[in-house]
């Protein structure tokens, strides 16, 4: 059965390692913070200028001077640091972030990603997404495998304006984990109870299937 948002977030959490500095995009990626394994220290970066995002504040703790890149009120963990936006993107561009997870409208089998603009609809701007995808060493896209109309988001060539080219390394969806390799999407894991055939049907791009595909452990 396809995973829900929380399932995807749980699977993303398995990509974390102790001591990782991680940037989690708005949406599903942000949920990952709830599933960091007990005893593991992972430090979350916020592009606006914070290392060490904590849980959402209680009502009494709300501070308008303390928000994340999605402009939500947050808290800072002990050991946090504040800095300005140029230093924040210095960290990102300089490759100091161990893992970046973000959402997408489309991912191509070459690792291109489209996530910021749907022509004809309102342009909201790319925010920090283009900087993140162009700079991070390790980029994972977290998304549903298909859109609301059942159209695949894992495709041969992106149709929407790009956020970055040849940058995505892995895609974690409600159906599968796939890696971007020369020649297409390589199927790495299946969501529990989801068949290879179902994944193939939901993937417009070339899906490379080698040997037995294990189920995700989440």
């Amino acid at each position: 059965m396809a995973l829900d948002k929380h399932g995807i977030a749980k699977r993303i959490a398995r990509e974390l390692k102790d001591g990782f500095y991680v940037n989690l995009g708005i949406g599903i990626p942000t949920l990952t913070a709830n599933y960091i394994p007990e005893g593991m220290e992972v430090i979350l970066q916020s592009e606006n200028g914070l290392l060490g995002i904590g849980p959402f504040p209680t009502k009494d703790e709300i501070d308008p001077d303390l928000i994340n890149a999605g402009k939500q009120t947050i808290t800072a963990i002990p050991g946090a640091a504040f800095f300005d936006s140029s230093n924040s993107f210095g960290m990102i561009r300089g490759g100091h972030i161990d893992l970046t997870v973000l959402g997408a409208f489309e991912v191509s089998q070459e690792g291109d990603i489209a996530s910021w603009k749907i022509p004809g609809k309102l342009v909201k701007g790319m925010g920090g997404a283009m900087d993140l995808v162009a700079s991070a060493r390790n980029i994972i896209v977290a998304t549903t495998h298909t859109d609301k109309d059942g159209k695949s988001k894992l495709i041969k060539k992106c149709t929407l304006p790009l956020t970055g080219v040849k940058c995505v390394k892995r895609v974690i969806t409600d159906l599968a984990v796939v890696d971007i390799v020369p020649g297409g999407f390589k199927l790495v894991e299946r969501a529990p109870g989801v068949s290879v055939e179902e994944i193939k049907d939901a993937t417009e791009g070339i899906l490379i299937i080698e040997g037995d595909i294990p189920e995700m452990k989440i």
Partner: protein, 231 residues
């Protein structure tokens, strides 16, 4: 040395039609509320505004928008603003969208006398346009230019009479770089203290960058998305 002005009205003196102004802040966090309000009370128009965001319909830069004082907006993210959408679609407002890190770095470069630099962000996307492309270390980069403005307006938590500034938490954001990039930089602060009061190790923006400073009043500090957890 006399950098202290009485209030926002005195601080924005000299801003004329068609000026280019940078505003600190990220969303509504750390924006110069007093100066924004004072500007919205003038008849100044044709402004080119540089800021990470464009405010919301009735607060922040959104107010300048609603009063049609803005000709052009340079930003990285302009969601959360319906009037913005309307003016953009009707062609009243010119918009230039820049990746957030590139925007921050272009402003830093402008303040630091670096006319141009290469970054990977935007390569192969609409942002590339006719920018010079060059490969470094096997990766493609775009040449981006430093950015300065006639006026830079920032908001800090504390400032001293020499213009030294200390920001609070994530209200630091774009304020830090924008303070360096104005031909005239205006700082509004929640608390103005005599010089010599602040620890010189804790200064975020040294006073050399600030030409005018004043203590603001009635900060609303609106929150865009109040998200909480239970205790």
């Amino acid at each position: 040395m006399n950098k202290v002005v009485k209030n926002a009205n005195e601080a924005i003196e000299g801003i004329r039609d068609n000026a280019t102004i940078m505003f600190g802040g990220f969303g509504l966090c750390g924006i110069p509320e007093n100066c924004l309000k004072a500007l919205a009370e003038t008849k100044i128009k044709g402004l080119t505004c540089i800021s990470n965001n464009a405010g919301i319909d009735d607060f922040g830069l959104g107010v300048l928008l609603r009063k049609h004082q803005m000709k052009k907006m340079i930003a990285s993210y302009v969601g959360e603003n319906k009037e913005f959408e309307r003016q953009l679609l009707s062609g009243e407002l010119e918009v230039e969208l820049i990746p957030q890190g590139t925007l921050a770095e272009r402003i830093r470069a402008g303040g630091a006398g670096i006319p141009a630099f290469f970054v990977p962000a935007g390569y192969g996307t609409e942002v590339q346009g006719d920018k010079e492309v060059r490969e470094f270390n096997g990766k493609m980069h775009l040449l981006e230019k430093g950015l300065t403005a006639d006026f830079a307006i920032v908001k800090a938590k504390t400032g001293d009479t020499h213009g030294n500034l200390i920001y609070n938490k994530t209200a630091y954001n774009f304020n830090g770089v924008i303070a360096t990039a104005g031909r005239i930089t205006i700082a509004e602060v929640e608390e103005l203290v005599p010089f010599g009061t602040l620890d010189p190790n804790h200064i975020h923006t040294p006073g050399i960058f600030v030409q005018r400073i004043f203590q603001g009043t009635n900060y609303e500090k609106r929150i865009e998305f109040a998200t909480t957890r239970d205790k």
